[in-house]
Symmetry: C2
Subunit: 337 residues, 2 copies
């Protein structure tokens, strides 16, 4: 298949040989609880700060991913990671613990697929045999940094989303058993002028649509080529907008095929999560925890994960700027031709 | 040449077909003034905020790099960029203006070579024909975010460094005329426990040494293979430490071969820059503005740029954490065998 203008086709078929997810209590009370490697019963994970708790999540997910891949830590040639924190500090500290060459990235909640795309590119090009991709978020670090510390008890509108507490990591390898990373589509910035950090789903929806259309254009594929297409964290407000925009652009999506990780990670009706989940960990824990298990079981043959990111900064918001958004898509298949 | 454990060898010889640098007034008063494409006479660049000024620097450098490469903007397939700002917001906004698929990275002041390495990897692997790499920093945005707003007039110790106001961008292409990106070495996190954000050169020196040694191990090269090896921004305190550490590890460095961009961008004796320059733009404007001109003139045949990054966050510093540091190295040659 031809490689398109903004897509990478991984003709050497890099394989996800091991992945792991670690989450907090809210995710452990959600419908995907059984799919995670570890559920922490408390938000602080017995750490002295929320930031230390977030770091621990990523360190654990990375370690478990390496264990699940049945390799030694020394075999990991590169770690590609990022998170929501200023200066992606959770990743820098986790990379310090890992002790492997480190490529830090920032894509807000699109980080899960940005890191998986880059890890697959490195492996596919023969520039590394085992590359770890990882990301994390914590509800309390994100609220504190982007909105208000949770301890203030401020109210939120129903368009707001609930940042997932968790971490997901995956080992991409040149050879081995596991789901295959087929291709990736790198997104452009799309910014339609939305400025409300309590309505990020609506802000990100056009970016998801732009990347999905680019993916189909570049690869010659259509929705029918996938058993499931999930956006990262558009949630209850943004996901219907994305569906409508796709329909307007003559890409009709069936509800059984088109989902959203932010709507899957929680029971949105019962859990107090406003419009649904968000955060770097949202698409990471749903993909690495839940979806890859379904791919391995044979329930899904091929999926497209379109991780969406709202690249706002608290300072840019305070200065009256709109929210630049992006989405990166990665296609994963069972690998059995 | 064999590709080592943490290095990428670019056997297809990607070429820097165009590059550009834009700087502020202090850099315009420094010894490299004549090498920059544009010198702004005022720090605010007639923008309403320091952040908008920083964004403008990057937008201009990107545009000029594309012009200097003699290509259309539409030919740029990917933009790889990052900066020091929280959520690398300068790059997200500049990527919005560029309108090309965007890979955001964070490596603090190592970003210049992190982005050049990734852009070269994409081109070398055939995953893109023209990839733009860019970074920026602004003295006033960095001081405000990491230490104190300049307007407060706080004093600084002589170990502090002066963040370069500027931006540098380069177009890496599969074919064309220009210096060749030969290989890159991706660094590991090195953290020896230094916690002082006013002494980042000393914190970063061991990371530079670690990457330089890894580069020599991976490539089989030695200092004698380079006409110039520059660290990014170790400046007056950190650079002698790096030299001492290398000597202790049996890698003696000659002063005529081993330099530092933070000591080159200013007249450290005359300009009030404490120990020297720093910031994402430091190694970017020295490399893209000054060093590549010397390579093109034939004064230097092969150089190694070791961009150093102190990955601290103001929050991690306030919480008593030490500074995780990293360095990424890229080897560039005149391309004439």
């Amino acid at each position: 298949m031809l490689r398109g203008k903004q897509s990478w086709w991984f003709e050497k078929r890099p394989v996800i040989i091991g992945e792991a997810t670690v989450v907090g209590p809210d995710e452990g009370n959600g419908p995907l609880a059984a799919d995670f490697d570890l559920v922490h019963p408390e938000l602080d994970m017995q750490q002295k700060s929320w930031e230390k708790a977030e770091r621990l999540l990523l360190e654990q997910a990375s370690e478990f991913a390496i264990q699940n891949a049945r390799i030694d830590r020394g075999q990991v040639q590169y770690y590609v990671g990022g998170d929501l924190m200023n200066q992606i500090i959770s990743n820098s500290f986790a990379a310090r613990s890992l002790g492997v060459p480190y490529i830090g990235v920032f894509g807000a909640c699109s980080t899960s697929m940005e890191t998986l795309a880059l890890a697959s590119l490195i492996v596919n090009s023969g520039s590394g045999s085992h590359v770890l991709a990882g990301t994390c978020s914590h509800n309390c670090t994100a609220e504190k940094q982007f909105r208000y510390p949770t301890e203030y008890g401020s109210q939120k509108p129903p368009t707001a989303q609930y940042t997932v507490t968790g971490a997901g990591a995956a080992v991409v390898a040149a050879e081995g058993e596991g789901p295959v990373v087929e291709c990736a589509t790198i997104g452009k910035i799309v910014d339609l002028g939305i400025k409300d950090p309590f309505n990020m789903g609506a802000a990100m929806a056009p970016a998801a649509v732009d990347t999905i259309q680019a993916h189909f254009n570049d690869t010659g594929r259509s929705p029918g080529d996938y058993d499931l297409i999930v956006t990262g964290d558009l949630a209850g407000v943004g996901h219907p907008i994305a569906k409508d925009l796709l329909l307007q652009n003559n890409v009709p999506m069936n509800d059984t095929v088109f989902g959203d990780c932010g709507l899957m990670v929680y029971d949105v009706e019962k859990q107090k999560v406003q419009a649904g989940g968000s955060g770097c960990a949202c698409s990471a824990v749903v993909t690495y925890g839940h979806l890859l298990k379904r791919v391995k079981k044979g329930e899904l043959n091929r999926i497209l994960v379109v991780a969406t990111g709202a690249l706002l900064s608290p300072l840019s918001y305070q200065q009256g700027e709109s929210i630049p958004c992006i989405a990166h898509a990665v296609a994963i298949s069972a690998g059995k031709e």
